[in-house]
Subunit: 417 residues, 2 copies
């Protein structure tokens, strides 16, 4: 008998019929003798509807009140799913974030979980009750309702699994796991049976949006065994099969398994590159450039600065394409003269491609194999950035698909025949 | 400076635009120097939508879970109204029933308020904040969300006014007060400036559905000054005028005011009458008849039993017309033989007309004036029932409008010219 936390997203609970199917799936696990705690999102579209209603009243609504309104979406789902489980003859009981309680800080609309009282859930489980908990929400020290921000239900699920010391946290979603790369670009992409947390973090932050990145960090911190699996399989899929499906995200390298050098290829479209040319190489320059951009709420991704030559250096960074024109304007109008840069150049049509893999740490030559592969395809590398388990390059956007496909092949990531 | 609790119903907050108008009205009172606590219902149609969703999952949903789902309607409104007040430059803060806390028993879907912590509200008021509280909902001793049943927001408003010892509880609704009778039947019906609680209770229970009857009982018990007024007047109606509009429900007879003998004419359509003829006059008979009907969840209204003659009596009662056939069937099939009644008769087409007034207690001849008026119109009285401040008669349904009009005239209730 295992203690399992299952999280179902908005699409999985998007209608009365789908909620009934989630109930059937949960019941299957419970009937097999497992203790199950369920975490749910709002029905798909509901959170957007509520936020639109709020903005109709006030274009920039007060965050505390926005959370009061937005948190009702999950509250509806917990009640409905509990009813559906009861209709199947199971004991079930719903809990809002405040009822559990999921304690958070007071950063409305983007609160962070601080602690969770697991006593009520444990008492319920001991009595054979299936607790159904509202994801995405919590309560601060003053009793105010808070929400965790978009995708926060994944974090709720992982945090509950940590508090309960659950055997596994299962995130049911509309994809069936984590792939070596996006199958829409590389049809031969392979689903990974396992991936390490470090790899998952790199993949998630690079655009493989299977899991909210905070939930992965949380799982890594509290050593929660995390599995991403599909809610689109038939609910009566044999348990033996379902329990091994999807992708397991592990927090330690499995010694018995041969570690792939590269686990996946991540990419990010719609990037733009800005180069501040001929900057005098003195302390504070990087800060002056980035603070001006940051104050305008523009997020900066990759940052590069080369060794200076003759007291001058070039400072390069990437931003989302939507922020390109604004960032360029800020630099030209209020930074360039101030820091004495010669020129501000840019390219709004670049992309980022990365190879990710734990095995990289112990294998030399991974980066050079990447560069050779791209070179053989005639793709020019504009920027390079590396971490322990990742190598990222910025290239012209039109080469993105070609780069991803050739790297996927070069590192032997295709499905075995 | 007065402390006022204002309650706005579902129609008043039925759209973003209407919520903004409620905010403007509340702001008007606040800007005039009053302390205001606002209680709101769910946006019109929302509670029905939520209950329908629940019944799609489970035709007879678990009451605890139904309350979790249904209570979200008011939670959305409190957030939206708080935002709208903030948009007007006022400090506002929303509270769910659990946050206040409105403590109730655990009778889900029909909970009763036991106590209210008014401390948070008082602290907010002292800081110039306008608290916006979710009506219809509370929290039980175990922290479960409860609801008070349909129309419960009126009760929430009155209970908060009692807890805060407010100067007045204002129930904004889509009628502009309590009338001497239904203006659709008697165009000359007059709005009452004041009505006593006792009269209001009789009027409410007799079909003048302006206020939920429990809220009136609550107001009477805690001596809350209660005013029913219209939310359909322009929001910028001068305060002086608005504060004297509608109908004030008083808990003590105003000594300075000449008490009208009869304050209003109430009526109930769609009644049916059942007569159990020739019942042996012995203890337990009334119980046996009514318990059989009650077990079938049929509500009985008026009950009459005459003095027995020669050991036999007739037992008469009224039920809603929709229950008539079923009630008759139950009596004939399982009660008649058992109690030895000679016959079960009935009439599915009757109605009830009542005159209500505190002045009746000290004025003789009110009932006889009623009977004479009906007699002059050729209306036969089938049943009579009286209380301290009310006389009710059951008559043939086709005479209802005629009876109401002639009584309204006979007791001088018309608008003064």
């Amino acid at each position: 008998m295992a203690l399992i936390v299952q999280k179902y997203g908005g699409t999985s609970v998007g209608s009365a019929e789908r909620i009934k199917n989630v109930a059937r799936r949960v019941a299957k696990w419970h009937e097999a003798g497992h203790q199950v705690v369920v975490v749910v999102s709002a029905m798909s579209g509901e959170t957007n509807r509520l936020i639109a209603l709020a903005k109709e009243i006030q274009p920039q609504p007060d965050p505390r009140e926005l959370d009061v309104v937005a948190s009702t979406g999950e509250q509806v789902t917990i009640g409905l799913l509990s009813m559906a489980l009861q209709a199947l003859g199971h004991k079930a009981r719903s809990y809002t974030g405040a009822q559990i309680a999921v304690h958070t800080d007071s950063a409305f609309t983007k609160a962070r979980i601080e602690s969770i009282d697991a006593d009520k859930l444990k008492a319920d489980l001991a009595q054979g009750i299936i607790p159904v908990v509202a994801g995405f929400q919590g309560v601060d020290a003053q009793g105010n309702i808070t929400t965790l921000g978009r995708g926060g239900s994944d974090t709720s699920g992982v945090a509950l699994a940590a508090a309960l010391q659950a055997d596994e946290c299962q995130i049911y979603t509309d994809v069936d796991g984590v792939y070596t790369t996006d199958p829409r670009i590389v049809p031969e992409a392979r689903r990974l049976d396992t991936i390490t947390f470090e790899e998952m973090l790199e993949m998630a932050s690079l655009g493989s949006k299977v899991l909210q990145i905070r939930s992965v960090e949380f799982a890594g911190k509290y050593k929660v065994r995390l599995r991403v699996l599909s809610s689109l399989t038939p609910w009566d899929l044999p348990l033996e099969q379902e329990s091994r499906s999807g992708t397991l995200i592990t927090f330690e390298e499995d010694e018995n398994m041969e570690q792939a050098v590269v686990s996946g290829i991540a990419f990010a479209r719609d990037e733009a590159k800005i180069i501040v040319v001929g900057v005098p190489d003195r302390p504070g320059i990087a800060y002056q450039i980035l603070s001006a951009v940051g104050e305008a709420n523009i997020e900066v991704d990759m940052i590069l600065q080369n060794q200076s030559v003759a007291g001058f250096t070039d400072f390069t960074f990437t931003v989302g394409r939507g922020d390109y024109a604004r960032a360029l304007d800020i630099l030209k109008s209020s930074v360039q003269a101030h820091i004495g840069a010669k020129e501000i150049l840019g390219d709004p049509k670049v992309c980022k491609v990365s190879i990710v893999g734990m095995g990289m740490r112990s294998h030399a030559g991974v980066a050079s194999k990447m560069f050779r592969t791209l070179s053989e395809e005639g793709i020019n590398i504009q920027m390079i950035s590396t971490s322990e388990i990742k190598v990222s390059v910025v290239i012209e956007e039109k080469y993105m698909e070609l780069a991803v496909r050739s790297l996927h092949k070069a590192f032997d990531l295709e499905q075995s025949a």
